[in-house]
Symmetry: D3
Subunit: 278 residues, 6 copies
């Protein structure tokens, strides 16, 4: 049976920790490298419901996209939800591993899975290529087989992404013809200018706030915007990462069991519509 | 007829520029203090559709909540949407005045109007009181006349706020009884900890992102969250500010005509629901 | 039986975490506040031999002077000695609590115990009083009952401190008469100027390096210096803290068993003398 | 007739905005890129008397060396002299364009014109060459046809520069023979060390203050210094820039009319001599 | 005979080193506190010609307004003019003492002497009062006995100040009536806004550069400006400081001989007028 | 007879000042480049006893490893021990020259001499090679002819280094076999990680403090540590530098007399052992 160290080696060969941003915190968060690992759960967020799912299923390792401690901590006491998570994982011999911005910029990475989920076909190129290797980078730009209306592409994207309370929010003329599409899993504020410069028809991402989004739309001639739940844009990557790990391990004669968590860890559970002025 | 300088004096007596945050940019953005002012349009955002509305209506002054240039500019050339706005306003003798964080912390201010719009009754106190005068401050805490379910309060808030594509997003148990409510117009990320410390049942604000919102909900026992459109949370204040200006002016024997823009300047115009896993 | 939360409350009533330096990391490092605590081990350093001692003795809590993570960590995986310590402690239900600079400045604190250990009698006052309460502060100044030679005081200090490989190093005329003495547990570089200004005859501390010490001695007329092992200067405090906790708990009808670790965690285990020039 | 955008393109092909210092603010300050431009006024400073000259002459564009807003502004209201200038220019359809440190380092640039004005002949090389292209850079070094006394060169420089109240101030032995000369338009404090290292006989610049100038002269063996009015050292460049624009435009079949402002915008209008000790 | 330590004590009782700016370097620069002092030379700048004058006269101490090393040095080797000065002074047993920004803000201080030199009568108050004692501060504001034209006041100031090559430069209408005058010895850029706010008719100072001065004059309605040589504005203080030291010493029965250097250490030795356009 | 400038040139050809760290202060501290130099004293520290030795011996120049003013000073008055040193040296025409981090990284440099002193034979390579020339760098790694116990190597090192009160402190199993050794003269805290990465058996250096040393030893599998007096680790270099200077000068037909100071300038003069617990 493989050890945790073996699995970490395998994951880091695909999601090299040196690719992570300098402010990021990736890699093994808890667990003993010598422990044996048979069952691996993939999830977006390292939160209590995911730990419960891991416990129930008997997982030896949880792989998440988001770090538990993005900024360093000096305490893991069970006085916070994060400390309780650490206590639970350690006491139950479950490791925690994070692939965050190193998975974002991998090839294939988080935005490749997102691009495929919303129906982009053909080759995908990074929206913001990495300086040292332009095949990697943040976001992806791809195309639809033929132009469709923004409304039609929105319906297609909605069909491809997992359901959340908020769904998709769209800024742009629904009748506009779109074909060339940029996507970026997670918060996309910082890529708005890059998406405009890339000359795409749509930029689909998450966590866009009023000021960046409205300033972007105020300067006419740029892409339409689609804002999805942060969680929903990163979830498609889990299956890709799980599949890769299982097959790469199999190629070495190692059997691991993987599972993608379907628990929605988006904060919002319901919505309501406001009143028109009339 | 009053001059622009007179109107600025009146507005700044209610929204003292010294109350603004150090990073903010409030006050007169363009216009000649000696110009005469008769018609004043109130709007949330200084954008092209608002300028057109001002032109059509014959406004002499536009009062907005958001600054045009939050960070300084070295050019107002008509090569950007902001420069075009300045050119349009100056060429048509329309002034632009901003009351932003000084209106947020005024008494009454932006969050008082929001609190009333979502149905809070009785006294309102600042969520984060100003150091130098605790009657002023960010956000407001108030109460409902009697406890209702979170679902019921959400419906009531939705009825009180102007319609936007995204409406409201809610995090929390819909059946939870709620009575003590905190609200804060605009982006509320930075007040999440304060809202928890205040022990309220709900915190209604805007522009909450995945990480702050989901970490907040992960630590159980805190308030439910309601996230509205940034624009919708600040719009209720416009009528209050317009009304005050008109009546304060009338008390000095000065007649000004005010109008609140009903143009929705939220970026999002449509939404779509994503697919369930099943 | 008391909970960990009870013990933390008791310890923090004597070593208030608000007294700690801004760069410090004090308080509970791991453990569940709801766990029951019966046996408490006190030690200077949170290291593997101390964890083994805790395990062997059946401790529920280890109280150390030094933080485990002075700078924050984003991983407690068992890939480092610190992560292994955390894994060991959590798996064996042993909490870890740190009182560092808050214990240094407490009244009585780390340097009071050191002062008594080296034979100072009568009242002790802080060498560098805290701004908000001059009864607290870094270091202590006290006196000997009557003047003795520096050589004699050095012998007395050596008798009062636990043995380490390096013992004491002394700078100053052995025949100099000394009576007024400053001591500071742990690294004392930053207090050299304060000790000179205080006009004492000797400053006893630890971890003095060549440049600060030789520049200090180069300016004549100041105190003699005695440099002890960092560990040895802080060890006397453990008994004081353990005694206080036991008696304060007893006063509330709570029985806890305390023990002071006698394991030397100074790095150096042997010494050698170098050759004279002759 | 050319548009403002055409003229900007022409000016920026000679004074590339990428050459400007990172702290500088160059390019179009106000105006509409689509406006037609026939008459262009060149001046050192964007001040009220220059705007009046532009209005009187019917200029469509003012090109200045100094930025209006070197640091960004959040208001162009007519409550400051700069805001009044913007209002005047926009209301009268006059654009404002700045070429500052990008003109300083251009080839030919501001200091080439200065060098010729004070009588340097033959080739000119940058005093502080640009890292990416040594033909460009700050200041110029050139030569006189034959050595003359410092007094003689001072008279020659005075004849070549436009009159200001303060004229030239000279530090150095009037009888010293000089031939190799460095010049730098505008404030030259930061180039004093470079001028010394270049081994020139004279360094002519502006805005030298007591401490840099007297420390420079205190270290013997370096160049003599000549300090002129900041305005006077940059004024010669205006004719060169105007001439270039007109001829480059003509070469494209475009006729523009240019004019160099002769209004002195140096602050000082009179002088007085102080008393000797005797 | 007094020691250098006695003289330092006397000087620092009038020019307290704690009043100096945090970036300043005041007090004793070289010399032995135990040395005897009989003859003291006062000068603005610590430069070679001043050291020669001290040697020729047989001075034991030089008191200057400007620091030798404003920023710290790690070498006093005779490889620079400053190192040569130190070597000369030490080898000839001459001390060097500086009173800089502590003399600026003293009462009376540098600007009091300047104010009297240009003919202000009656009480003088600081232009920018010190926070801890409003009787001290930078600059002085005083009045003329009756209003005169700016031209007349300029002539009067020129008569009162020692001659330098550049004399005075004046910005403002020569016929303007002036009575309330602010003066500040040395570089006055940073006090321009304060002078405007003080509502004076003239601000006389030194080292004004093009941008601050011309922006100041561009905003109409403020004071006229007079720019003198930095050296000339501080020279009047020397006699005041010398007189005080001699009389305070005499009051203690100590005889010291003082002398004010008349050597002009302004950098500029000649001037020239430029050509008019005509 | 050579001038001081000649000697500086010779020393800097071997210890290039450009190799020094950016925070360091190397080169000539006082002295006149034109002075003649016949006798040169080499010492580790620029302190009073060394200056006395220089005076007694009639030295013209003192070469030290440590800078007098690592941070810049604004005063060399005889009010501090450093100022008194400068006064003494200048008044007696003795220059002071420092080769510090430029000597550390030279080839051969400070750690080469240390390596030979403790008995390393064969080739030495830098522990932390300089980026621009890997033959230079901090520390040295070398080998013993055959493996010996740590206890035996400690005795050998003690025989090779000059005596100080504290001697050597050792961390590690005395029976451990060691052969590959890293040494670094002076404070070695910052090289601990490098020494571990180099895979050596022992790291001998100075001024190690409790936290770095005990954390280092807590992570098992690394080198043993030997901590010597800072002064003792740098003293062996003096003879090497003196010998080089004399022979390089002789090769140019110049005779200089050199001497290595044997005065111990380590701060500690006596030691004492503490009590065991028993």
């Amino acid at each position: 049976m493989p050890t945790l160290a073996d699995i970490v080696t395998e994951l880091e060969s695909r999601y090299d920790p040196r690719w992570a941003e300098s402010w990021d915190a990736v890699g093994l968060v808890c667990g003993d490298p010598a422990a044996e690992v048979r069952k691996i759960l993939f999830a977006v967020d390292p939160v209590a419901v995911v730990a419960e799912e891991a416990l129930d299923w008997g997982a030896d390792l949880v792989v998440t996209h988001h770090p538990l401690y993005l900024r360093g901590t000096t305490s893991v006491a069970a006085t916070t939800s994060k400390g309780r998570l650490i206590q639970t994982l350690i006491k139950n011999d479950i490791g925690l591993f994070t692939a965050h911005t190193n998975a974002d910029v991998a090839d294939p990475g988080v935005s490749d899975a997102l691009a495929r989920a919303v129906g982009l076909t053909g080759p995908l190129v990074p929206l913001s290529p990495a300086a040292d290797d332009p095949r990697r980078g943040l976001g992806r730009v791809g195309s639809l087989p033929e132009p469709v209306s923004l409304a039609e592409f929105t319906r297609q994207a909605a069909r491809g992404l997992p359901a959340t309370a908020g769904g998709l929010r769209v800024a742009g003329d629904p009748d506009r013809a779109v074909q060339r599409i940029a996507v970026s899993g997670g918060s996309g504020d910082s890529l708005l200018g890059t998406a405009r410069a890339a000359g795409v028809d749509v930029f689909l991402t998450a966590d866009l706030r009023h000021h960046p989004a409205s300033e972007f739309m105020e300067n006419s001639g740029g892409p339409a915007l689609i804002d999805a739940a942060h969680w929903a844009t990163e979830w498609p990557w889990l299956a890709d990462a799980a599949h890769h790990l299982a097959s790469a391990s199999a190629a070495r004669g190692i059997t691991v069991e993987t599972r993608v968590s379907e628990t929605v860890t988006d904060a919002w559970n319901t919505t309501a519509k406001c009143e028109d002025f009339t």
